[in-house]
């Protein structure tokens, strides 16, 4: 007999994610939990109209913030219009590898930021403070290209949040963070902002290290209301070209699709997926 999973209520839809580039990415990182790559078409690009439709629904629901992710969001040719449309309604964060942010894109992003009362955050992933560490995960030559993207944003006065995963040994420790912050200062970020993310044993990461094991699960466990409400799925949903999913992590599971509209997803979500264990145990949030 299969035990029940605890569930997480949707307390309020504060954070709406958009998988604007689907699973398409110009890089192919070995730890990618949704195996994004130049050839992964599992999820397609979202159109500007689709994004606008969800934004209209989100405005009526009082959504507090918007996140754009992929794949690589800057592969979507309408990304700047999407950012502009979202910034009219609330703060926006874009999760990117930074490689496609050329100087003219950076300048346009600065204009979009200046044109809104709300914050625009660019969040750039890098996997170490040197090329060997980073390139082993993100691909040969990517370290320099990512740095160029970071510096291009800094040059127009946009201060990116730099994301590092725990694939980098010790990234989450006090010393590890201090080293990374120092690295960011050295590459020209006067006010370094850093987010360290735990690894999710999904997608490509299952080949790099391992998959989740059977004990890594919330099935059969009881969560207090406070614990359930601490999970990001109590306040987020993820819009994709294939409908609305519970969160940005579980898009590879058909069972995590909750509906075609945001309204259809306003119900509790059963925490029966192994990644739910990571969110609970490590207090993971994909938010900045």
């Amino acid at each position: 007999m299969r035990a029940d999973a605890p569930s997480s209520p949707l307390v309020a839809l504060d954070t709406l994610w958009f998988q604007v580039a689907g699973t398409l990415c110009n890089l192919q990182c070995t730890h990618c939990f949704i195996s994004s790559s130049p050839t992964n078409h599992a999820f397609g690009m979202m159109s500007l109209d689709e994004v606008r439709r969800y934004l209209a629904e989100a405005e009526a629901l009082g959504v507090k913030e918007y996140y754009f992710t992929g794949g690589e969001p800057f592969l979507n040719r309408d990304i700047l219009e999407m950012i502009e449309a979202a910034l009219a309604l609330g703060p926006v964060s874009v999760l990117t590898n930074g490689v496609l942010i050329r100087p003219e894109t950076a300048r346009r992003l600065r204009e979009l930021s200046d044109g809104s009362p709300y914050s625009l955050d660019l969040r750039i992933s890098i996997d170490g403070a040197d090329a060997p560490a980073n390139d082993a995960i993100r691909g040969a030559g990517t370290f320099d290209r990512i740095l160029a993207g970071i510096r291009g944003l800094a040059a127009v006065g946009l201060n990116p949040v730099v994301t590092v995963t725990e694939a980098l040994e010790g990234a989450g420790t006090r010393e590890g963070r201090a080293r990374l912050l120092q690295f960011l200062r050295e590459i020209g970020l006067a006010q370094p902002r850093l987010k360290v993310m735990p690894l999710l044993r999904l997608g490509a990461e299952t080949k790099r290290t391992r998959a989740y094991q059977e004990w890594e699960s919330l099935v059969g466990r009881t969560l207090t209301a406070e614990e359930a409400e601490a999970l990001q799925c109590s306040s987020c949903r993820m819009a994709t070209a294939r409908g609305v999913y519970v969160c940005p992590i579980l898009v590879d599971y058909p069972g995590a699709r909750m509906g075609a509209t945001l309204a259809e997803t306003r119900r509790p979500f059963p925490l029966r997926f192994p990644a739910c264990f990571t969110c609970h145990e490590q207090g993971l949030s994909c938010r900045t």
């Binding site: 309020a12 504060d14 989100a58 405005e59 009526a60 629901l61 009082g62 959504v63 507090k64 913030e65 309604l89 609330g90 703060p91 930021s113 009362p117 709300y118 914050s119 625009l120 955050d121 006065g157 946009l158 201060n159 006090r174 963070r177 006010q191 902002r193």
Partner: protein, 270 residues
């Protein structure tokens, strides 16, 4: 846990004091300004302690002047014997300084004052002119939710007002003052902080006045200049971190930085 709400009456002009953070010098000056400006009432929005010196001095001034107050996360933590301030920071360095601040304040706040903090409501409702006003520390839904200007969009404000059946929400917790009315007389007012300058390179701190003027609501953020060099001296004598003293003397934040959104962070030096 649902916060207890206390109902107050109708007012014409009200002063609001955001986080005081033990800045008893600024508090005394703020109360003088509110009197001089003809405020009918003054409300304190919580976080009386933290950061500054001699926390009991602030509480004594508030209690002597019978300033009605709500709990901030500091009062909730101090009165319940919690081990930390529940400020809601996410960065280890921010939490490090928050803990120094909390431990100092907890040791130097009398048991009697802690018990008084436990009697304070979490929310207050009152009216200014025809408008219903809800006072809370962080947000109406959470004592330590940060409502920053650049992260609190109009559609979300409308939802808060709808969900909590009010015209105005008056809050603090971020340390930065701002206000946005989504329509006349309806919106969010963050009173900022009396305890610490607003990360803008100026040493004064802020209180907020809200009044009915010609049938509509007017919000005014009022700078409060005080003897910040004396506060810095007292902080040094108490052995508080040099980083805190620097903020008082320069007007720029040196801690609680990671929690700042992009726009707010870019205005500071660190």
């Amino acid at each position: 846990m649902t916060a207890r709400t206390e109902e107050h009456g109708a007012f014409g002009r009200v002063g609001f004091l955001g986080g005081i953070y033990s800045n008893h010098l600024a508090l005394a000056e703020a109360l003088r300004i509110c009197r001089a400006r003809g405020a009918d009432a003054v409300f304190a929005l919580g976080d009386f302690g933290a950061f500054g010196p001699h926390p009991d001095r602030t509480v004594e001034i508030l209690r002597d002047a019978r300033v009605p107050a709500i709990q901030g996360n500091y009062e909730e933590s101090l009165s319940s014997g919690a081990d930390d301030c529940h400020c809601g920071y996410t960065d280890p360095r921010d939490n490090h300084f928050a803990q120094i601040s909390y431990d100092y304040t907890r040791e130097r706040t009398s048991a009697e004052h802690k018990a008084w903090m436990g009697t304070l409501p979490g929310h207050v409702r009152l009216t200014i002119g025809a408008r219903r006003v809800l006072l809370c520390h962080g947000s109406p839904r959470k004592i330590n939710e940060f409502l920053w200007h650049s992260m609190t969009p109009d559609p979300f404000i409308r939802k808060l007002l709808r969900d909590h059946d009010t015209d105005l929400v008056v809050c603090t917790h971020t340390g930065l003052h701002w206000s946005r009315l989504v329509e006349p007389g309806r919106g969010v007012v963050n009173a900022g902080a009396l305890g610490r300058p607003a990360n803008d390179g100026r040493t004064h701190v802020w209180l907020t006045l809200i009044e009915e003027r010609g049938g509509e609501i007017a919000v005014e953020h009022v700078p409060v200049a005080y003897d910040h060099e004396r506060l810095a001296r007292e902080m040094r004598e108490e052995g508080l971190p040099a980083e805190f003293v620097e903020t008082v003397l320069t007007g720029y934040w040196t801690t609680c930085l990671e929690i700042l959104p992009a726009k707010e962070r870019s205005r500071g030096r660190h």
